[in-house]
Point group: C2
Chain length 388, copies 2
């Protein structure tokens, strides 16, 4: 058997295994990042032209690229449709970016914590991960500068708006400061924004890439959190120096993104119908967040701290007495509760015990209180066992 | 700018550029491998459950995996649904296989010529390509044995049924002999079968993977050539030792294949409606092949040799007087004709001049004769210029 060296870094995905366990209907799952079934819009297919069944362009459908560029310009991002690449879900952006930038031992920079699946694919390609701690309003700027003075990362990967897993939203001041630092040190920015539209308390936050003056950048988004994840339609927008390489890597990865999903996405992007749907989504998820917050206060206020998320899909809990939350998984699943341990969201999991990521969007509200009660019970039992 | 070392091997795709040029409506294109628009089936979407819009499993839809396993078993391939991975077009199989097997300098074995996009992605990952020459009935077995005695390739990549670009169909005897050699030397087989169902003269050819007794294997297919390429739905079936790694690589590449296309594929695989559609496809393409053969005899019989393809989508011409066919492209496009030069289908293009790959499925028959007349004129002019 001749495997690549890379395969030795291919970890079993904790997410996949938890999601598999969480598929049992009796399980109350706080684990995934799934949209609520009730909020999947009833899309129509009857007007789709048959030509969408033919091979398409690697770049994506021209009309969709135009619509995505227009949407990005409305956010403050100076870009043309020629910089837009439609991808097979924004996860694919991470694969393409890894191929573009990472050799074994390449230094890259990440938030700590960061998106688990990004960490996994960057590590699969052999990246050496340098981290910057997150504070409530974005990265610790002193530490970011210090790291940039010591290292020359190929890129920095940031999720500035309702970060997964921490729910952190960067302040305007930190967005400006991060952009200035990346320009100063000439570091490429990969900005991942799946949750931008799931904002519950208003406010805006112009993308960091739009504040850059010199540094190269990739901005990536998706329709998975606001339309239908099953379409597998995401996009990236890249600075012109990076785009041609990303396009060729996309072509070699899967020729082009499915056109059926692209056509459906185009029926929504930029329309009044979509704005109206987004409004309903925000109302729905805001209500779920508020109920979750109330249930958390009942069951977790004595054992954990957290910030109320202003958007996105997750609460990020910090136990007052840290313990390795991975050790809680089996006990939780035994009482039909699934959650995401916090440790794997850090490149050095063992050094960051005591966090839990809890999804609030998917669980049926009627089971929410019971689910959190059971989960708190599992934590309490572990703390008691440790104290004993 | 910090790019990976891999990017230095990222070639501009000749295919993509030719296809872009060939999109001008006045161009008579023999370049791509596109199904005829007229033969795209009129699919229905109204019965699709809304749940197909939700996230799905990385493995693919369970019912589709069952249907694909049943179809493979009918071909003689002993396999279970648990060995089936639905991918985003069979191009993705090549990406996953490259990740699984190829480090910089890893030896792999290929037919010469071979599928251009496979060659490109294997080279992107840094493979050292060893080739085995194709004869009319499959690989040169003496040379295959000699190469296996000298090298330890991570895998061999073969397209035994209506090979792209050569249209070669391996004989039963060569299929057996190849399987025996791979078992003897313990070399993993990647068998790519996009054209299996496009057979015009009957006959069957059991996959080589089903003849293996010990070696590991990946078998890959697609609905792109027989249903709708725009769905981007392909699949791989792998030996149990490889499957778990491929699944994790799939998850890290794009989470899962779009469910919309998977649902549509499931409406067809294994049905009477599909069998009937395949019969119509074969009749349609057989007729196009026959007309193409007649037009070739008119315009090319004095300057090229070829074998009549028994299936697939291509004629593979060998010029009686070799010249670098890449140098003909500009002249051909100047008279509104596109074709694929043969050189890029070899790892060492400069050592294999004088082939043209001509697609017969896509061109309008009313323009066929004029297109081949112009192309032959371009070849003749180049030969005359060389003789002068």
């Amino acid at each position: 058997m001749a495997f690549s060296e890379r395969v030795s870094r291919l970890k079993s995905s904790l997410i996949r295994e938890i999601l598999a366990a969480a598929q049992r209907p009796e399980v109350m799952s706080f684990a995934g990042g799934l949209p609520a079934e009730a909020m999947l819009p009833k899309v129509k297919w009857d007007a789709m032209p048959l030509a969408m069944g033919q091979y398409g362009m690697s770049e994506g459908e021209p009309a969709l690229r135009e619509a995505l560029a227009a949407q990005a310009r409305a956010l403050g991002l100076a870009c043309e449709a020629s910089q837009v690449l439609v991808v097979s879900g924004s996860q694919q952006t991470l694969d393409l970016a890894a191929k573009l930038h990472i050799d074994v031992g390449t230094e890259i920079m990440l938030e700590a914590p960061t998106y688990l699946a990004a960490l996994q694919i960057f590590q699969l390609f052999g990246a050496d991960c340098i981290t910057v701690p997150l504070q409530a309003d974005g990265p610790d700027l002193k530490q970011l500068r210090a790291r940039l003075e010591q290292h020359r990362p190929a890129f920095i990967y940031l999720i500035p708006t309702f970060q997964n897993p921490s729910a952190v939203r960067y302040s305007e001041a930190k967005r400006d400061a991060v952009a200035a630092l990346l320009d100063e040190f000439g570091v490429t920015l990969i900005e991942d924004e799946p949750y931008r539209e799931l904002t519950f308390d208003g406010g805006s936050a112009t993308p960091i890439v739009s504040r850059l003056k010199k540094a190269s950048w990739i901005y990536t988004g998706t329709v998975s959190k606001t339309l239908l994840p099953g379409l597998r339609v995401g996009y990236l927008i890249a600075s012109p120096d990076l785009f041609p390489h990303l396009l060729r890597l996309k072509q070699s990865a899967d020729l082009h993104t499915n056109r059926i999903g692209q056509w459906q996405a185009l029926q929504w992007i930029g329309t009044e119908q979509y704005r109206s749907h987004l409004g309903e989504l925000r109302d729905f998820y805001r209500d779920r967040r508020d109920r979750f917050q109330a249930a958390l206060q009942t069951h977790f206020s004595d054992i954990a701290d957290w910030n109320m998320p202003e958007g996105g899909l997750f609460f990020w809990l910090t136990l007052k007495q840290p313990l390795d939350t991975r050790t809680l998984l089996a006990a939780a699943l035994a009482v039909d509760v699934a959650f995401m341990p916090g440790e794997p969201f850090f490149p050095e999991p063992d050094r960051h015990p005591g966090h839990l990521r809890l999804n609030f969007s998917h669980i049926d509200p009627s089971r929410l209180d019971e689910g959190l009660r059971r989960l708190a019970g599992v934590v309490r039992a572990a703390l008691a066992a440790e104290a004993a």
